[in-house]
Point group: C2
Amino acid sequence: MWRMPKLADHEERRALIVAALLRIAASRGLHAASMRTVAAEAGVSVSTVQYYFGTKERLLFAGLQHQAEAVGRRIEAGLAANPGGSVRDSLYAWLVQLIPVDEQQRAGYTVFAAYHALALTDPALAEQSYTRGSAELEVVLRALLADAQQAGELSPGRDVGAEAGNLLALATGLADSVMADMRTPEAAIALLDYQLDQLFVAAFSTSPAAAGRR
Amino acid sequence: MWRMPKLADHEERRALIVAALLRIAASRGLHAASMRTVAAEAGVSVSTVQYYFGTKERLLFAGLQHQAEAVGRRIEAGLAANPGGSVRDSLYAWLVQLIPVDEQQRAGYTVFAAYHALALTDPALAEQSYTRGSAELEVVLRALLADAQQAGELSPGRDVGAEAGNLLALATGLADSVMADMRTPEAAIALLDYQLDQLFVAAFSTSPAAAGRR
DNA sequence: GATCGTACAGTACAGTCGTACCATCAAAGC
DNA sequence: GCTTTGATGGTACGACTGTACTGTACGATC
């Protein structure tokens, strides 16, 4: 079996179409994303979308995967941007990535909410969804908190497992409130900061960056 | 202008149809709720649905209103069921209502998530949605916490405004995690309880009920 | 008892949906 | 140069969508 003639970059074409799908889902809703509207948005024909994804279900699936990977990359970038800081700063950098601060992140969250709602009644989509991703996040969070506790940075009497779960749930809930225009992203981040203050002892002296944030 | 001949109870007929809509939305998704499927589920003709709601948009709107009122009643009932308890117990009774513990509450949350996702791209729906409702919840929460602080029940150095916002966001996030099957309702409630323990001083002695819960 | 408006059922229509099918054009391999 | 195959456009089909329209029982009013 020899090499297939490579006339088009499949990866690139698929990315082009998925990007069009996500643009439509973010602006007009996932229900407005039909084969025809996605094809038009991507500037290709419906047949091309069919060619690269076969069925609409697989297209939607690819869109969800793309979205999940984007969120994962964002979290990693947030962590990497703050390599030498304290545990508290790492946590802060982490959790802040979950709050939608600009229009792009809002768009991502909109798409995510649509998939989330869909997954609640579609078993096939629920399998994939973000359940596993969020569970992994919590494990990493717990490890970070355990480190901090061993270093004596945490307030006394704290359960790292419970705190990890609550921090993640808090960030999720705050992100929701920002999406619902209940508060500004800045207000949500301030609340996150406040909660971390309660969790860490002597938070005001950990780093100049943390102090400047308040 | 005299009385209209009242052959059918409009309120009852509308409730019948809305209930059918919500059943479909909870089991098969809001996207599966068409004029025809709703009519069939309600056991009436499409014309009847048209007669009582005119357009599908108004039907969906009525469904959202019904859902919002149901949540409001649930919260009120949770508060009323615990009249003589401490502030902490009231808070607990309050927030626990936001966690979906049975299949009915799960169904309600599923419908809510679908509307929530829809509202993010539909300005007309966003107007209504739960933004205002949640904001009201937060105001009541803050008042409760302010009472507790004046009575010296809160841990020192707490900002009641921030705590109110964070408690509501935490409950929302925990509810989400339960819906995503990340944890059981009982685990979510335990986390809520843990957070209240951190917030209130000497939580172990406030009431036998609070102690028994742990 | 004639009339009128309510409360439905049935149906028709224009549009959109996902998908299957066919044609075509260009590039790769012989 | 011919054949093969990847990549794409165009189109057609059956199902479904929301809604408008028509018909028609039945209870209330006169």
